[in-house]
């Protein structure tokens, strides 16, 4: 059952996924699928991608044994997959780079993207500067405020950042505007979707470009420990870093996989971003997924201190992995994530992104219950520089 995940050609992950988009986009999606299938069979495409991943992004990044954190927790040996050390500071560049090369292959010279935390926007603006592509990034008004530094970074890189004040002014609304822009400019523009969401073939393309996280982790842990880890923990918004980490391990049934959503102010308050807490199915942004909605099918705003997890749905492959029980999903509140951030900062001298801090908090709880000879890997999806202002405000001067 799990095996069929590797054979996805139809854009369906069980009942999830699909292509729920306006007709105007169907030709572009079909073209993208054809171009991508061709690229996957072209060794020169991978050679070029490999070149940039190594010499530009700085891969492979380390799988780091967090010794002090391990001692402090007093359970399993904890390793960190250091996506935070990538150029631009997060895993997002893996996908942005791959899709930019794909866009060039398709002869498209203009790029549109959405961004929540700004990491995907920065990664996209970066590759657009690198390859001389025109770049427009849509970003929710609230996120523009929360991530002012990233807005400036994108502008420095030559991108046009458009603030979206519709809806709640967060990631969902930015995706809406990016889709509208794409529908209008579809003939010369490629949409670099940043998460493992959206219509087929995006969830598959994004996952494939992020798989390098898990592929490297697998190789590195075998080198260091001579065996696979017992548990892997990653944060889940739309789910790109998590699916990239999990996918190469999905068939290794002894490796427990844990996805961590944002519980915001707490699930019971209703102000959260945990689609797996509500388990309501529906369609948004082209895919059938679990998604936050009311009884009328109106999409609800997600809430999280972390802009990158502030999305009301989870990607279709995660929904499938949830339903077959392969990945265990839970959620962590804003306050707990802040604790996770402090924990890693103090024990290892690494300030993690607020998104990754969700994974750290949950991983610490899981590791504690594990034996010292067991191994747990945390996907440290991004660094926390961008969040320092938010964290300072949230801690209210507390040190």
């Amino acid at each position: 059952m799990v095996k069929e995940l590797n054979e996805q050609e139809t854009g369906r992950y069980g009942k999830f996924g699909g292509q729920f988009v306006p007709e105007t986009l169907m030709t572009a999606l079909n073209e993208l699928e054809i171009a991508y299938n061709e690229a996957t069979k072209d060794p020169s495409f991978y050679k070029e991608l490999q070149y940039y991943l190594k010499d530009y992004v700085g891969r492979e990044n380390p799988l780091y044994f967090a010794e002090r954190l391990t001692k402090k927790i007093g359970g399993a040996k904890i390793y960190l997959k250091r996506e935070d050390l990538n150029h631009t500071g997060a895993h997002k560049i893996n996908n942005a780079l791959g899709q930019a090369l794909l866009a060039i292959r398709m002869g498209k010279k203009k790029i549109v993207a959405e961004t929540g935390a700004g990491q995907h926007g920065v990664a996209t603006a970066t590759v657009c500067a690198l390859f001389d592509l025109e770049c427009v990034v849509f970003m929710g008004k609230e996120d523009v405020k929360r991530q002012a530094l990233n807005v400036f970074r994108m502008e420095l890189l030559g991108a046009k950042v458009v603030s979206v004040d519709k809806g709640g002014g967060t990631l969902k609304d930015a995706v809406n505007e990016a889709l509208r822009y794409w529908v209008t400019n579809v003939e010369d523009t490629h949409y670099i979707l940043g998460s493992a969401t959206g219509p087929h073939p995006f969830p598959r393309i994004v996952r494939d470009f992020q798989r390098i996280i898990g592929v490297e982790t697998r190789k590195q842990i075998l080198e260091k420990e001579g065996r696979l880890p017992d548990a892997i923990v990653a944060c889940v918004g739309g789910g790109s870093n998590a699916i990239g980490m999990f996918h190469p391990f999905v068939n290794d049934e002894l490796v427990k996989l844990y996805g961590v959503e944002a519980a915001g102010s707490g699930i019971q308050t209703g102000l959260h971003a945990a689609a797996f807490a509500d388990l309501k199915e529906g369609v948004l942004h082209g895919a059938y997924m679990y998604l936050l909605q009311d009884d009328n099918g109106f999409i609800q705003e997600a809430h999280s201190i972390s802009a990158g997890l502030d999305y009301p749905a989870v990607g279709p492959e995660h929904c499938y992995l949830h339903d077959i029980g392969r990945v265990k999903y839970s959620s962590v509140t804003d306050d707990e994530a802040l604790e996770g951030l402090k924990l890693l900062s103090r024990t290892e001298g690494i300030i993690p992104a607020l998104e990754s801090s969700h994974a750290i908090y949950r991983a610490a709880e899981i590791a504690k219950k594990m034996k010292p000879e067991e191994i747990l890997v945390i996907n440290l999806s991004g660094r926390g520089d961008k969040d320092v202002e938010t964290v300072r405000a949230a801690m209210g001067g507390e040190k």
């Binding site: 699909g18 292509q19 729920f20 988009v21 306006p22 007709e23 105007t24 986009l25 169907m26 030709t27 572009a28 519709k166 809806g167 969902k172 809406n176 889709l179 509208r180 529908v183 209008t184 400019n185 579809v186 003939e187 199915e281 529906g282 369609v283 948004l284 942004h285 082209g286 909605q293 009311d294 009884d295 009328n296 099918g297 109106f298 999409i299």
Partner: protein, 260 residues
């Protein structure tokens, strides 16, 4: 495939050398009570059919005019359920075919079967679901096969010929020819290839071809109306109702002229 009542109504108009005029309203904009007022007004003004838009939180196929109208309607408490109930309350007064235009998620939340049953009860003759392309249409088609409700397919300027063939094969009611790349809303001009596009579409299609997206002025209604079997006007109607400019609508409808 059996010919559905919506197609018959449009062909009746087209076969007499006239063009179909299908205005769009955002149900609940101006309050739930405005639904009856607007539908009866458009019926009286000579609409061939009326498209009833259901507001949605994330209307990605719509431009700013309809999105803002949708947000106003949401504030008035409009949703699929109450809108259908509102229409049911005066269905005896309705003589023109009604087409419901909604995104998929509100239908899923309602339950597809329950929704279809309610549409039949209310007398809805067609559905336009902009985020359901033919690849996903089975979901709805299977449930309306035995009903008198038509699932209307959209064809865009980007649809390639083999795709248009496939769409034409499953088309019922009419084909909605999207006249611009982009979202709904006011446009100052149309691409030169539109003429050819609509002609090619009419060659292939066995159902009437109605053009929409971006048609807002009397001149455009006249121009596009001369190419297709009729026009859909959305944003301009929504705007006119919002501004209390019903006079504009009365002037717009006679612009779809009799050919010859």
């Amino acid at each position: 495939m059996t010919v559905k009542p919506l197609q018959i109504a449009i062909e009746k108009k087209v076969n007499t050398g006239q063009k179909a005029f299908i205005p769009y309203i955002m149900a609940g904009d101006g309050g739930l009570k405005a639904i009856r007022k607007q539908i009866l007004f458009l019926q009286d003004a000579g609409a061939t059919a009326i498209e009833v838009g259901i507001p949605f939180t994330d209307p990605v196929a719509d431009g700013p005019v309809i999105e803002e109208a949708g947000n106003r309607a949401l504030k008035e408490g409009a949703n699929l359920k109450v809108i259908l109930a509102e229409i049911a309350a005066f269905k005896e007064e309705i003589q023109v075919p009604l087409i419901v235009m909604t995104y998929l998620n509100p239908i899923l939340a309602y339950g597809i079967e329950k929704f279809v049953a309610k549409c039949e009860e209310v007398g809805i003759t067609g559905l336009i679901i902009p985020d359901v392309p033919i690849e996903e249409a089975k979901l709805i088609q299977d449930k309306i096969k035995e009903t008198s409700i038509a699932l209307i397919q959209l064809v865009s300027l980007t649809s390639k010929e083999d795709r248009i063939q496939k769409i034409a094969e499953v088309a019922e009611g009419f084909i909605y020819a999207v006249t611009v790349n982009g979202i709904t809303g006011v446009r100052s001009e149309f691409g030169k290839s539109l003429d050819e596009h609509i002609h090619a579409l009419k060659e292939i299609s066995t159902v009437p071809v109605i053009a929409g997206f971006g048609i807002s002025t009397p001149e455009q209604v006249e121009e596009i109306g001369s190419l297709a079997d009729g026009v859909i006007v959305g944003s301009a109607i929504v705007k006119a109702f919002h501004e209390g400019n019903e006079k504009f609508i009365r002037e717009l409808i006679p612009k779809v002229k009799v050919t010859e």
